[in-house]
């Protein structure tokens, strides 16, 4: 890890600690309205001011950070697990199963990621409680985000399939599940980690895009995407530039994730 990566990792650690401690740092509950002071500027009681509905912006930012930073890694974990399972089994078994998995991957990769999410989101009810909307966003990204990783993991598993140690394990009568668990998966572990870390910034950006379009996390639950939806009102934004803080935080987090990512040779 070089110096820049250490700095990026430290920044991420600080932001994650703030996210965990958000409950104790919140000046007010994120949905509570101070109706006498809508659109207020920064003050001692409200360090980042209030939004158009009089809700404390710092509370919403801290809670939104928690939602976005829990949602994206959780979805990345789910998608990496699916990709690891499908890719490893396809690479190990080969034959028709590998062909089917790769054809399904090709079909879904032919479609831009946001189009796919839009289609699936359109299938589901839109008028749902905020917590359910978070769950839907998590499941959509987790269940649909595995395609790009499957190809790479499958190719790596195919390489392991032809190795001597696997031949030896097979000749001793090792069961396929044990082969997968004890011999293939440990060899592909660095690749799994790399794919997991690559997916996190992608999912953070996807959540932001979906929420800005009104198809992700629903109000009053805050997330970076829902907080950035207010940017459409440019006059309010130029009068209150501190409202750009969610965007600044998102850019910092995504950049830090890009910096701490493993080298390209591991991920390809």
């Amino acid at each position: 890890m070089n110096a820049l990566q250490k700095v990026a990792a430290s920044v991420l650690l600080v932001i994650f600690v703030l996210m965990v401690l958000a409950t104790f740092l919140l000046p007010a509950p994120f949905a509570r309205q101070f109706r006498d002071i809508p659109n207020a500027g920064p003050s001692k009681a409200h360090p980042l001011g209030t939004d158009a509905l009089g809700r404390d912006s710092l509370s919403r930012l801290l809670y939104g950070t928690r939602v976005s930073l829990l949602l994206a890694p959780a979805a990345a974990l789910l998608s990496t697990l699916i990709a690891a399972l499908l890719g490893s089994v396809a690479g190990l078994l080969g034959g028709w199963f590998e062909r089917i998995v790769l054809a399904a991957t090709d079909l879904s990769l032919a479609l831009p990621w946001l189009f796919l999410l839009l289609v699936v989101r359109a299938m589901l009810p839109l008028d749902v409680p905020p917590l359910v909307s978070v769950l839907i966003a998590f499941l959509m990204m987790g269940l649909l985000g595995w395609q790009a990783s499957v190809r790479v993991i499958c190719a790596a598993a195919r390489g392991v399939r032809d190795s001597d140690f696997l031949l030896l394990a097979r000749s001793t009568g090792c069961a396929p599940v044990r082969l997968l668990w004890r011999h293939v998966a440990p060899n592909l572990r660095p690749l799994f980690y790399a794919k997991f870390f690559i997916s996190i910034p992608l999912f953070i950006l996807t959540e932001a895009n979906l929420s800005i379009l009104g198809l992700g996390v629903m109000e009053p639950m805050p997330s970076w995407g829902t907080l950035m939806r207010g940017f459409e009102d440019f006059s309010a934004l130029s009068a209150n530039p501190w409202r750009l803080v969610p965007l600044v935080l998102l850019v910092i987090v995504v950049t830090c994730f890009q910096l701490v990512l493993p080298p390209q040779e591991v991920t390809q």
Partner: protein, 296 residues
């Protein structure tokens, strides 16, 4: 003789790709039809909830919407209509989907092609400058700028485009550019580091000759593959950009369809986009193979 054999091979590859395209299109259509058929609320009209309607009228309405059709019959009707170019009617806009696609596709195609052109030109120029001027300041500033653009959600770029009153294709170019730049730069750096390029440089060959005779032939196949991928990126970016910039293209149509749960519309838009993507990727792949073949 060798030329004829190469052409035959390429022709066979093209045919195979076309067949694959048709199969994937058919599979996509069936998957889309299944999603429509099993989506919650399929075949239920809001009018059924109106207490003024009598039971017989509600039953007649259900019959009209073919709710009681079996799945094979549903697939048959869907595919036969598709084969005749009938993509159904939009539930929310009450217009034929085919007509909507005919109106919206050229708008998106125009924005995407122009945006890709600008992004490719900027990325290639900046990557070439980076190779010509290898100073740390240039490298650090371009890397920082690229990271910043990569970290911006495309919806935020769209909002910025609205405020700055820039055309839609510029916003698409801003989203696509950082992805192209980092790839092109890495590819050129790797190509310039090849032993035969170093040998050519040691022999005193001019930089232009090195670029056109030794570097570009090596980098062309992956660059052509990148062209196919960049289509997918730009079409994906078109959704938030067209939605927020109020540009009447396919992206905006898909967004409106998703918001109003207009399943026939969104499934058909998705089918068209996936076929365009598959065709673009196949063409890029074929072009890359043709180029590699001609170089050999």
């Amino acid at each position: 003789m060798i030329e004829t054999r190469k052409s035959t091979k390429l022709f066979q590859l093209g045919l195979r790709r076309l067949l694959l395209l048709l199969c994937l299109g058919l599979a996509g259509a069936l998957v889309g039809a299944t999603l429509v058929r099993f989506a919650p609320g399929y075949g239920v009209s809001e009018r059924e909830l109106d207490p003024r309607w009598r039971a017989e009228s509600v039953e007649a309405l259900r019959q009209k919407q073919a709710l009681h059709q079996g799945l094979p019959s549903f697939y048959f009707h869907f595919l036969s209509a598709l084969a005749h170019g009938d993509l159904g009617e939009s539930d929310s806009l009450k217009r034929p989907v085919r007509e909507l696609l005919r109106q919206r596709l050229p708008v998106t195609a125009n924005s995407v092609v122009r945006g890709l052109g600008v992004a490719w030109l900027a990325a290639a120029l900046l990557a070439s400058f980076g190779l010509a001027f290898r100073g740390w300041l240039f490298q650090a500033s371009t890397t920082a700028f690229n990271s910043l653009l990569l970290s911006l959600p495309s919806a935020v770029v769209a909002m910025l485009a609205v405020h700055l009153r820039t055309p839609v294709f510029c916003a698409i170019a801003v989203v696509v550019f950082p992805r192209l730049y980092s790839y092109i730069r890495n590819l050129l750096v790797r190509s310039y580091g090849q032993p035969h390029v170093l040998a050519a440089r040691a022999r005193g060959l001019g930089s232009r000759a090195i670029l056109f005779r030794h570097v570009l032939p090596l980098a062309a196949p992956p660059l052509l593959a990148l062209l196919g991928v960049s289509f997918a990126v730009s079409f994906g970016a078109a959704i938030p950009i067209e939605a927020l910039c109020d540009s009447p293209g396919l992206g905006q149509l898909a967004w409106q369809a998703a918001l109003s749960r207009d399943l026939p519309l969104i499934v058909n838009v998705t089918l068209v986009v996936s076929l365009v993507m598959l065709a673009a990727n196949s063409l890029a792949d074929l072009a890359g193979r043709t180029f590699s073949g001609s170089m050999q």
